[in-house]
């Protein structure tokens, strides 16, 4: 019980710190939301009037306090430029990005865990060496480029999908999930490559441990030792890494959404930053922050389950 309270407090403190940093970043950035609303062809009087309406003339601590006090009660405020509740604006976008990220995450796990084990088992073999080169190549290819290649190859040449079209869940559920395949793969490939490399290295280093030699001496085959003893130890750093990957996938989707014209929070975030639409940006940052903090917490718990010697605290 005490550890949970402590952990929760730490999580809250992290989130608070993130929200302050995001707020400060907005103070430093040049620019003003009134510009996005009124444009260039406006009068200084209108700008002053709007600044007053939006409460932008208050000192920063007052504005931050006002945002925080509303946010903790679940009120994310109103978008400056859209003049609508932020929650309403985010609702549909979150669903899209979450679906895309979840599929990409599953892909990372499905691609990397079997491949990592396979490579570790055949360490130094021909397959291992070929795979490693390929892996290195994928690791250093950005998702945007993979996305553009996919669009060109599968979209324009092979006509597997139509670049530039997006189907909503309410229109056609099957098409909605199917269209996520290539974008998710574009996000998942570089991350999988990194995960494979980590898992392979982790297994390989465990394989050289004394307890593995002991396992062999007890009559285990290489595969048997791997399955019964090594994997559990080797997976620990990978779980932590996958938790970090989760955050990375959300970040990756921001860019990939643009390439595939997917209406998710990534595109909203970018446009809100350029419009200096603080309430929207802050809400998105907080959502991602909550996710990252929570997933990390989850990873700690999972690691403890796998290896009871690790104690939460």
């Amino acid at each position: 019980m005490r550890t949970i309270v402590k952990k929760t407090m730490a999580m809250m403190a992290t989130l608070l710190a993130i929200s302050i940093l995001a707020f400060l970043a907005f103070q430093i950035l040049p620019g003003d939301p009134t510009v996005a609303i009124l444009g260039m062809n406006t009068s200084p009087e209108r700008v002053a009037e709007l600044r007053d309406t939006l409460g932008l003339n208050d000192p920063p601590p007052v504005r931050y306090g006002r945002w925080l006090s509303r946010f903790v009660t679940g009120d994310m405020g109103r978008s400056y430029s859209m003049n609508r509740p932020v929650a309403e604006q985010l609702a549909g976008k979150v669903q899209v990005t979450a679906t895309l990220s979840a599929i990409a995450f599953v892909m990372v796990v499905l691609l990397s865990v079997p491949s990592g084990i396979f490579l570790a088992r055949n360490e130094g073999g021909k397959a291992d060496r070929v795979f490693l080169v390929l892996n290195q190549l994928l690791m250093s290819t950005p998702s945007v480029l993979i996305g553009l290649i996919f669009t060109y190859l599968f979209g324009l040449l092979l006509r597997v999908f139509t670049p530039g079209q997006f189907v909503h869940l309410s229109q056609n559920a099957g098409a909605y999930y199917a269209q996520m395949f290539f974008p998710a793969l574009a996000i998942a490939l570089p991350r999988s490559a990194m995960t494979i490399k980590l898992l392979r290295g982790s297994i390989a280093s465990q394989m050289r441990q004394d307890y593995v030699r002991t396992a062999y001496s007890r009559g285990n085959s290489r595969a048997g030792a791997l399955r019964r003893h090594v994997f559990r130890n080797a997976i620990l750093p990978v779980v932590t890494f996958l938790a970090l990957t989760m955050a990375d996938i959300v970040a990756g989707s921001i860019i990939v959404e643009q390439v595939f014209v997917i209406p998710g929070i990534g595109r909203l975030l970018l446009s809100s930053i350029s419009a200096r639409d603080f309430p929207v940006v802050q809400a998105i940052i907080m959502m991602v922050a909550v996710l990252v903090v929570f997933v990390n917490y989850l990873a700690d718990m999972i690691n403890q389950l796998i290896d009871p010697r690790i104690r939460l605290g």
Partner: protein
Amino acid sequence: MKEHRRTLALILALFLIVGLAGCSGGNSGNQQQASEGTTAPTDERTVSLTPDERASKDQIVIGIAQDLDGSLDPHQMATAGTREVLFNLYEGLVKPANDGNLIPAVASEYTVSDSADTFTFTLREGIRFHSGREVTVGDVVYSLSRAAGLNGGEALIPEFALVESVEAPDDRTVVVRIKQPNLEFLASLTAGIIPEGYDGAEGIPPEGTGPFMFVSRSPQENIIIRRFDGYWGDKPGMALIELKIVEKSETMLMSMRSGAIDFAAHVNWDWMQQLGDDFYAEDTYMNLVQALYLNNAVPPLDNMRVRQALCHGVNRQEIMDILADGKGYALGSSIYPAFGKYFIPELTGYYDYNPEKAMALLADAGLADGFDLEITVPSNYTPHVDAATVVVSQLETIGVRASIKQVEWMSWYTETYSNRQYVSTIVGVDAATMTARAMLERFVSDRHNNFINFVNEEYDRVFAEAIAETDEARQTALYKRLETILTEQAANVYIQDLCDYIAIRSGIGGYLPYPLYIIDMAALRYTR
């Protein structure tokens, strides 16, 4: 150990379920938002149709590079991209025609008093809002009073600060009086007429009287508009238009090739080669003045000879040759050709490309060894970034060591445009209304948007005379004088009015170029 594995699986499964459930929980809100203010069923969405299917239903998908303004309020349009689209939804008492003249719209006729301070309009018989309700003089008085801030607050449209009163002496007539004579004010009366009582509080766009009506909007995704069958003018050719937001230019290109998008304005010249036979290009002008704008208050640019040297040192034709296959209209002052009677073509040749002369002028100014020049460019505008690259290499010839500083648009607006913390910048300046004033007022010494810090006593005097002049011919002459002063003083290094390419899917015709930043969607139709 098995137990642990099961627990692990359980936790992961729970996590996924919670995640997915949480996401779909938010879904209902989205549907509500997307369908707000619409009567169109979902199947009217154009998204998953092929170009042929769209053609058979008179539907078109137009790609736009950025989302429209948040409000879609015709009295509070911030960006040119929003003006371009809302032209099709809202009409003023008068509206711009594609020849640059104003034609009656919500009014069927109008008169301007000889003193140029009273404008009398007769409401068009039977004109209706998108809901089908007839427009009354009450709606007109409300709309114009709102734009002018007559019921409290500041004028929503800056030009309307001039309005003294808006009255309806009978139910067919509206009289607008302004505080000082102003012949050009009529151009401001293109401001949209909306229903009485609309206050924009809910963030839903108001009804208008234009050929298209609003159906739905999904931020950062699309805006859907539909033909208004009760429109007073010619029936639009398209029944439904989806304006799809595609920020990345590579993606826009691929979306056109894939059949997802039928029409895109402001595309690059080299795209047309890649689009092949499915598309054809219309070329027109962007209707703006692209220039190397100079901060006239910063040394050495405060010296006229230095500015003139820069004018002689930039080769406009070469810029157009390199970047647009020679297309574009070289300019010599702050008025572009679409302004017709105000435009002085001769000013283009006032400073010829002459590096020797440029270097002599620099030597005269005591800068025989040249100087360093920083050019700030908003990074999202490719034509300006590209032009800057060419300008840098050209200026090298006359010994000016120029460098490019790319900034985000918002930083450009705040630091460069508003706070005037810059040396020089390449951008395009356009006009919200077809008035010479819209282009020339910014160079008055104490004007809030005089971002080049231009100070010229004669300019200020002539400008005051020009706006007060009630004789059109004399006023035109005065504006031309202003234009000439800008050239003589080498206020800026004028470059060109950019060539604008519009890519249109074969089978769609009717595109009409305008002297303003507008797409007349009512003119588009399938040619069968």
